[in-house]
């Protein structure tokens, strides 16, 4: 922790090398960045990126980090938005060997570390799973004893980000449960649910923690509508208001660029 009397340290812009790019789903790619001066981060945080055109025009956006703090590279997971200005550029142009200007980490609220403990309830809608994935990967590295349930809602099976990793992780870790639900098509395999997150599903999830056990911390990330529904259901189920942290996509889905975390608007 810095000395309160010292001038606060600035988050400087830096040119991060793009180490590699990986396709996660048809509309989602991961960009693995190596920022030259990186002081680490807490799972759940995000970074700002800044793109500069030849005439000096600049565009900035925020993207959540999907990798664990322990990972070698910072993984930004970016969903391509049809009318976006920045996300299509990432998808269509950015390649290994490029440099991208970024600064971070940013955000001191929607974060989890082993000291925060559990039981932990994570609810993600669509690409809202990204900061939750950072928490799950961090938990794998340092906190496997923390009882954790991830509820993850996607429109289609093909849109489930980190699908294989999550299924394998939940299969190998009795302390981690994955509740996957698909809203716009039939569930493709046993164990995957169909339909939106509702009270019935939430009741079942809360029962999975065991009799008289409540999640100590809940993180919800997704569209504003998803966050509203999920948080309302949890409050109705008696989960304390102050134990729920939320992160909503900025902007309406047609315009928002990835996950724009959080201050109040």
């Amino acid at each position: 922790m810095s000395d309160a009397n010292a001038a606060p340290e600035r988050l400087e812009w830096q040119e991060a090398a793009v180490e590699s790019v990986a396709e996660q789903t048809p509309e989602v790619k991961s960009f693995f960045l190596k920022p030259p001066q990186w002081r680490g981060f807490t799972a759940g945080q995000h970074v700002d990126v800044r793109l500069t055109a030849p005439d000096g025009y600049q565009a900035e956006r925020s993207y959540s980090i999907g990798s664990a703090p322990e990972a070698d590279a910072v993984e930004l997971v970016i969903e391509k938005l049809e009318n976006g200005e920045v996300s299509p550029f990432f998808h269509e142009v950015v390649a290994a060997g490029d440099t991208i200007e970024m600064r971070g980490p940013i955000g001191g609220h929607f974060t989890w570390g082993p000291r925060d403990g559990g039981p932990l309830l994570l609810l993600g809608g669509g690409s809202g799973v990204v900061p939750l994935m950072s928490m799950i990967r961090h938990r794998r590295a340092v906190g496997r004893d923390v009882r954790t349930i991830l509820v993850y809602s996607c429109r289609r099976w093909s849109e489930v980000i980190f699908r294989d990793e999550l299924i394998a992780e939940a299969a190998s870790d009795p302390n981690l449960s994955l509740v996957l639900t698909i809203t716009r098509e039939a569930a493709p395999m046993a164990g995957v649910r169909m339909g939106r997150v509702d009270m019935k599903l939430m009741d079942e999830v809360l029962e999975m923690f065991g009799p008289a056990v409540m999640p100590k911390r809940t993180f919800i990330c997704g569209s504003s509508a998803f966050v509203d529904v999920a948080s309302r259901l949890l409050l109705e189920a008696g989960i304390p208001f102050g134990s729920i942290k939320t992160e909503r996509y900025g902007g309406d889905p047609a315009r928002a660029e990835g996950i724009a975390p959080v201050p109040e608007s």
């Binding site: 988050l11 500069t52 005439d55 565009a59 900035e60 900025g250 902007g251 201050p263 109040e264």
Partner: protein
Amino acid sequence: MATRGFFGRRQSPEIEARLPPGQYLEKGFPVLSAGPTPIVKHEDWHFDVKVGPRVIKTWNWDAFNQLPRSKVHKDIHCVTKWTKFDTNWEGVLVEEILKAAGLDAPPTPYVLAHSFDGYSTNVPFKDLADGKGMVALTYEGYPITSDHGGPARLLVPHLYFWKSAKWVNGLQFTNVDEAGFWELRGYHIYGDPWKEQRFTGDP
């Protein structure tokens, strides 16, 4: 240094002149918040003016609605990069609140705004004076919905919008500029969008 292959989507000069650095134009009105949306009923609503720990005036909803109203038309700028033009609000200017609380002058130079959800944000009083800050009660002619901070939210549109505290329930005068919720979590103590003061330490 230019980013390889990026040309961007420039706006017209008129629009660019109204966009602070790093912001883009948003037509919708995104909702962002740190936690669930608190539903505050009018019968439970109250608004306090405090000087340090001392409450000097409290209004209930009906009494607060009797205070003189003003209208403002402003562009708003969220630190998450979106800017929305031409928003219309009606509410009670902070200077009217002071007057109604019996204060001729601000008792201290700084204010911490508090909200029903435990949120707080700090604003120097000079940024709330002279019509610059209000407690807004309507947006575009309608009561402010709970997801946008209703029944009442602070409105300080010349600063990043996290300073415009949703679900506001009081203004506390403080002797020093005490960091609020986001200001303690990496966001700038003042938050001028035109200087791009997003994060702690930004000049």
